[in-house]
Structure formats: C-alpha cells, structure tokens
Symmetry: C2
Subunit: 194 residues, 2 copies
C-alpha cells in the first residue's frame, strides 16, 4: 500500500517496545512530514548513542570509564543495589534515600528459559560482589514473575560471595488501602511488619 | 540523570505522536541496547524517507511524479475523495469499494486558529477540483470537531468550482446497537435513513 521505504520504516518501528503496526504507521508519517532538517536532528540524536559506553563497575550508561555514581567518593562502597535495568536505578536515585552503589543486571531470567542466563550479568555480578569492599547486596528486582525468578537467580549467584543479601521490603504502597489490596500484598505486609 | 546524548534523544522522541517522556525513555534505552548494526538499520530506514516525494495530483507519498492511484487508467477520474491524511486514504482503499481518485488535505483547520489555513492544501484543492474532469468531490474528514470544521472549510473552498459536493454517510456503525449509541449518532442515522 505504501512505498517500500515507508513499509520498511513501519516494520522497523514496530520493533520498538509497546509499539504495534498502527502506532508505527503514525510514527512513520510523523517522520515523513518532518522537514529534512528536523529529520536530520532525529537521526543525529540516535547516532550520538554510539558515543555512550557502559560503566565498567555498574554497567550504567556513561561517557567515562567509571560513571558519576561509582566514582563519587561520598557514596557508601560497601552496599550494592542490584536492579534489572538502568531506569530502575534512576527511580531509586530519585528517592535521594540510597547512598550506596548499584549493579545493573541488564535483564531478567526465566526458570523456563535457560538461555536467558546469558542475557544477564550473573558472572559479572559474582565478580563485583566478591570484591573486598562489598558487604551487602540489596536485590531490587520487580515484584513480578520475572523479577522474582531473577531475584532467586541472583541469590544463587551470590551464595559463595560471603556478602549479606537483602530484598526490597514488600507491603502496602503509600496511599494504599487495605480494602483494595490483593491477598499477596497483604500477606507480605503482615510478614514484613515493622 | 542520564548522559546528555540520552537526555537529548528522550527529548527528541517525546515529540513523536502519543509519546510522553516515559515511553520516550523506554525507546531511548531500546535504541541504546541495540547493536551498532541494528541501530544503523533504524537510521537508514529513517534516512530513506528523503527519497520519497508527494504525488503532484493527490499529495500521497510516492517515488514517482504521479502516484499509482492517480496514474491508474481504470480509476474514475470524475470523483475526488478529500481526506485529512494519507492513512485515511489507506483505510478507504482497504474497503476496495471506492474507484475514484483522492486528494489529501494534509491536516485539519480549526475555526479558532486562522493560521491553520496555511497548513492545509485549500488553494491546491481548489485548483485540482476546478479541472474539467472532476465532477464530484466527496468530503471524507473525521466525524470529530476538527474534521467537521475542516469539512466546512472544504465546502467553502469548493463553492466556486462548480462541482457536486457530498459527505460520508453518518449513522450506526456495523455491529452498533441502538441501546449504546449516543444521541448524535442516532440523530444522524435517522436523518440519513435509506
């Protein structure tokens, strides 16, 4: 229906997360209707990503060898917070409550798909957590099936590292009402009472 | 929080239709996690758009001077269907019911913003509809506020062209039930009874 260039772009954009063929078509026509200059800006913004590398300690995106968090002298080097992805790290940083360092797993594992283990940084985490300064690892994966199985995997990886391992607290979210909380959340809230 | 390259990309992607900062962040990290080769493919797909031009008759995207619909000898050259944008044209083509030609306005006008008139192809439509072979113009704008005001604008533009002007039928959609139809739809269905 559309010229091959547009069909190809729709196809490419359909692979973006949460994007289906309909939204991809809207994006393609948005890009088509941009001026040459504006389209060049989009291309440049994407190209600039190749200047970005990963922090050699936490795997956060950075332009330096070691990122601004890992190289910050004021941060507590004895605690490592393990998250699934960089956006999770950002969420925790926004609380301004955590003063330790991070480690980004780069994904989740499923107990049913062994090959997932190659997609996350299990070996790298083991190595990092074995360094002398690390005393505690906080597992901060999501509270869903993938997050849970990833947490179990991380616990197994850390077994031989001799570090204290903890998990994020579970319970009612702020503003949460007992009437509307699901059973699992209430159970966690009871177990994790303080 | 993120390196400037990522912040800039998030900013650029936030301008895509229906995309907010959260989704733009997901897109940015999706692009960051692609291999250099895959990212190059995305860039090439966007760059290829500059090969695309617009049909000189209907303003549909095409690689030729006149698009495949406008140059199709079997199509009825006396009828012109005016749509807001190319995706609307595609929707009508999918019905395989319409055998005439098209004209893409390129946007909508609002009675409150006079400058919108420069963003749509009013002058070009007038010229096209004045050509001798054109006998009827079907206004196929959306059934919403912008579509309605654009339809009124198109009617005004066509006044002096001496062509028959019609509108898409309004009424219950296929599968629609009276119980759930809104008043305006029912009114249109009554007026447009056949």
């Amino acid at each position: 229906m559309y010229p091959p260039e547009i069909e190809k772009l729709i196809n490419t954009l359909s692979r973006f997360p949460t994007v289906g063929p309909r939204t991809a078509t809207r994006f393609a026509f948005y890009l088509l209707n941009l001026s040459d200059k504006e389209r060049e800006n989009v291309i440049e913004a994407i190209s600039a990503l190749s200047n970005i590398s990963m922090c050699s300690l936490c795997y956060r995106s950075t332009e330096k060898e070691v990122c601004s968090i890992c190289s910050d002298e004021r941060r507590d080097k004895s605690t490592l917070c393990v998250v699934e992805q960089e956006t999770d790290l950002t969420s925790i940083e926004k609380t301004k409550f955590y003063g330790g360092l991070y480690f980004i797993m780069g994904g989740t594992v499923s107990p049913l798909r062994k090959k997932d283990f190659d997609n996350v940084r299990g070996k790298e985490l083991k190595e990092r957590a074995s360094q002398e300064e690390v005393k505690e690892v906080i597992i901060a994966t999501n509270q869903n099936t993938e997050g849970e199985s990833t947490a179990l995997y991380i616990e197994r990886v850390l077994k031989s590292c001799g570090v204290k391992v903890s998990r994020l607290g579970r319970g009612l979210p702020t503003g949460g009402e007992l009437e509307y909380a699901d059973e699992e959340t209430l159970k966690s809230a009871l177990k994790g009472r303080s």
